[in-house]
Symmetry: C2
Subunit: 172 residues, 2 copies
């Protein structure tokens, strides 16, 4: 009986009552990640580069949904993670983040506290769109947002370090 | 602007266009698990007990969706996992599995290969509803299904071991 059902329905996913955007938000709530990393970049006047990223990782043998996510958003790359057996869909460019990723999550918000990370992420993307990441005051605001995101995540540069170099810059 | 949006929308989740059943299937696709474990039980004639389980684990600080899942399905327990910092929503009783969990995932199927686990899980639940887990032939069929599920998962008893004891039983 189970096999009969499988045969009847497995190939008819397009007839499903599932709402794909809602499904993908749910998937992202479990497996996705919004991050803003800040790394030294000597060629920039503020000496720090802001790198926003929206990503979803999954075991390589269960990565079908990443293909659907890439197709749905129409952006992002899918690459194997060299550190483990996972693959990762990731968008790092500001324009597709602002034009495709952010509007989706405003319409289909996350239902866990990860939504708070999205709101900070959204704020950083908006600030970057106005060029705020290229001036000290804007960078401080962005670094404060980034610091509050994913508190349990790894962080290569802490806000104190960034603020210290900005003060040097500002005093000069 | 981001904060303004947050204030306007954060409290209005009920007005969201999100389809909750689709969202929860997406969440389950990432974080959920269907398992069928088989453990020795001397008091049963076949000497093995079949234990189906549908569960979702999440870090304790992001477990809001587990409450929604429990409310949506109207069954299952939420307990801290003693091994780590996660909490787990889990349904182990056959009746709520068959009456609430299985019908949901037939209507809102998983979109990754985890759907194959669901189909085997569904088959095991149907077999159990017919009492097949209490006779050798049915147990063999169930053990074969269970063996094919979550191939990367831990398994305390392998099918060979179960078959061996059943053969002893059947010869006696």
């Amino acid at each position: 009986m189970a096999n009969l059902w499988t045969r009847q329905h497995a190939g008819s996913r397009n007839d499903s009552v599932t709402d794909l955007p809602s499904y993908l938000s749910g998937y992202f709530d479990g497996e996705g990640c919004f991050t803003v990393s800040i790394a030294p970049r000597r060629t920039l006047r503020v000496r720090w580069e802001v790198r926003p990223s929206a990503s979803v990782s999954q075991n390589a043998d269960r990565s079908e949904v990443l293909d659907e996510i890439q197709q749905y958003f129409g952006c992002g790359t899918i690459r194997p993670d060299p550190g483990d057996k996972t693959v990762k869909w990731e968008v790092r460019s500001l324009r597709p983040l602002l034009e495709r990723v952010v509007p989706h999550f405003r319409q289909y918000p996350l239902r866990s506290s990860k939504q708070q990370d999205f709101e900070r992420f959204f704020e950083v993307c908006e600030l970057m769109a106005r060029g705020e990441h290229l001036v000290s005051a804007g960078l401080i605001r962005i670094a404060t947002c980034a610091q509050a995101m994913n508190p349990s995540g790894r962080r290569r540069y802490h806000i104190e370090e960034i603020l210290e170099t900005l003060n040097v810059e500002m005093k000069a």
